[in-house]
Symmetry: C2
């Protein structure tokens, strides 16, 4: 009836498949760092079972064992890691003026293989990207299990994307890319949150909040290691809640949005400078440098953004009670340059019962790479299922 009832095996045949995926997932999640004996213990398997499973996975080209570097006392164990001809996820981060493609192995190692600037139009960005990806897919032939593409705007069902600051409306991303094979199109903020949940500051956290500051602000709630998707797939839009009391119309079509007060657009507006249209990242970076150096006007602008960030975070913490809050993008800089202002407004906006044990607010360890890593995780999430792994095994028998 509900998804959870479907989970788990029902037949003894499905049991094997289920454990295969569990093992593969564990290898991926730990970054291929755990030894076989540790995995056997963690997953609660008998040594014999683990033996059979690893054997099968190695034979079908999904895993490859190498001797562990450090030895203890007994018989040395092996470390299962990605197979040299194993599955690959292509991850793409599309920014306002360039895109970046990475090839990622099971375990999470990502290698950037291509970076190219573009003109900011849907066709100018996505058609060459599609060609580059198709070329790479052909070269890597049957190894690629999917492509994940991160974009800086809401993604509707069918991969339709709107990016207000680039004037993209209902851009048909899958259509323009024209790729064979599985494709995941996602919001960069949601992907960054996913990355944070799997390999960043929200690892192991039951309920976490991730906020990404760029031109404006986005965010998602992370529950049990994955961002909440929303009914139509359009999550990560915390920036479009009216949390700071304004009522100015926003580019999104609503008004009073929190995202208007936090981000480089807001920074530049504070100083009376031109903003919007996807320009101004360099300008904003200079401004942050000025603030770091102590320039008074810049510092005031940064403090204002940090305060608005803190106020909004308090509201979201009141509502959702997360265990931790991570900040990425320019959020890292706001945290670094104006922590007192951020925390003052954060604490003032908390309910009394939240003040006792407020969540920690931490800058992301993944920096600007979160979106790319999240795109990878999203592809592997689709692959690390009973159906997809079985399909690979049939093809690589």
């Amino acid at each position: 009836m509900r998804a959870e009832h479907e989970a788990g095996a029902t037949t003894s045949g499905a049991l094997r498949a289920h454990n295969r995926v569990r093992l593969l997932r564990a290898v991926h999640d730990c970054g291929a760092s755990l030894t076989r004996s540790a995995l056997t213990r963690d997953l609660g398997l008998a040594r014999g079972t683990a033996s059979v499973l690893v054997g099968e996975l190695a034979e079908s080209g999904l895993l490859h064992e190498e001797p562990a570097a450090e030895h203890g006392r007994g018989r040395p164990t092996q470390v299962p890691g990605p197979h040299p001809r194993g599955p690959i996820a292509l991850a793409v981060d599309v920014r306002e003026d360039a895109w970046e493609v990475a090839a990622c192995e099971l375990g999470g190692r990502a290698t950037v293989v291509e970076v190219r600037p573009h003109d900011g139009t849907p066709e100018g960005a996505l058609v060459p990207l599609g060609a580059a990806l198709r070329a790479r897919l052909e070269r890597l032939a049957p190894r690629v299990v999917g492509t994940g593409v991160a974009l800086a705007g809401p993604v509707r069902p069918g991969g339709l994307v709107d990016i207000a600051h680039l004037r993209w409306t209902s851009v048909d991303v899958p259509g323009l890319l024209a790729l064979p094979g599985p494709l995941v199109v996602g919001n960069d903020t949601a992907f960054a949150g996913l990355a944070e949940a799997r390999r960043g500051g929200l690892r192991g956290v039951a309920v976490g909040l991730h906020l990404h500051v760029d031109f404006d602000l986005g965010g998602t709630l992370i529950v049990d290691g994955r961002p909440l998707a929303g009914a139509t797939g359009v999550g990560a839009e915390f920036g479009h809640m009216p949390l700071t009391g304004g009522d100015a119309p926003c580019m999104c079509g609503a008004y009073g949005c929190w995202g208007q007060e936090v981000g480089t657009n807001a920074l530049l507006r504070h100083l009376g400078l031109a903003h919007g249209g996807g320009r101004g990242r360099d300008h904003a970076e200079r401004l942050l440098s000025a603030a770091t150096a102590g320039d008074e006007a810049a510092v005031r602008a940064v403090r204002s953004c940090a305060g608005a960030l803190g106020r909004g975070v308090s509201a979201l913490v009141n509502a959702h009670d997360p265990e931790a809050v991570t900040l990425s993008g320019f959020g890292v800089d706001l945290h670094r340059l104006a922590l007192p202002e951020l925390m003052e407004r954060f604490e003032r906006g908390l309910m009394a019962i939240r003040r006792e044990r407020p969540p920690r607010i931490v800058p992301s360890a993944l920096g600007w790479r979160g979106s790319l890593i999240g795109a990878m995780e999203s592809v592997f999430d689709a692959f690390l299922t009973v159906d997809a792994v079985d399909q690979w095994r049939r093809a690589h028998a």
Copy 2:
């Protein structure tokens, strides 16, 4: 690593237990309405497997089969339902001036067995309630699998409850009740949301939003059939986000809270009447009657609340993209009396991309009984697990 990896059986022995719980869960969720053959199909089991499972469950007093009312063409099938000596959940709804106890069978049938007024103090309310529950537990002896208690305030770990309008602070509910056996203490709004997800307007919805209007306003996000819990268990606090632009201090310790603008406290304040302190429910009901009859001042107050409700809902819809929004408590009345005002501010606050297919906003079908039903569901959620069911079977061998 994450919860989902733990789900499902890993050994063949656990397979049987897993399928037992799946079957029991399916019977409960459908309200004991499905026939055995329908269940067999829905769960994807073989007829032989279902035969064994139902037999075991009947023998251990968990299920009881009765002939199906309607016959088709072939051999008539049976309907598995609650066993006459089967598990019972006690559900309690504690209101500001009275509490109510219901005994609930597997399948969801709830029978109110006791209602008693109280004086509004923690001891005055909870000590007699504890005595009443202990008496009932003793009478029903080994059948009660747990007690669920709904309260109108945030619940912290350990069952500590704060109810601002009753001046309850850090009330130790489990301590005052002093019950043997499992106890679930929960927020009434979260419970109402759970009920809505299982047996109301959010049934089968992947992402839904439930809002409960009483003195003020609470709400939860429903994901995959369950309300988001929050890290410390304190969810359902959407009322304490600043979504309507105010900045007045709130009883919760924060300021500008949405809940100050929606609810009976807000209604009475609009008319310059005394409010707060848990008094005024009768007054508010008279006021709603007056608005229904067309009294102008009352209508204005209701419209203002409905507008503030709509504005907040738009913000939450922007952020979370739910498939449906349900309203319970006085939210039903606001929906009935001032739908245009509600919808106008709702639609104005939506992002453009949300306007295409906005979620439906529907009044709850469960009315004021949601909290009680949710408390029951919460108890059965704890029981319908491999461990708890196995324990019952060992005791009832």
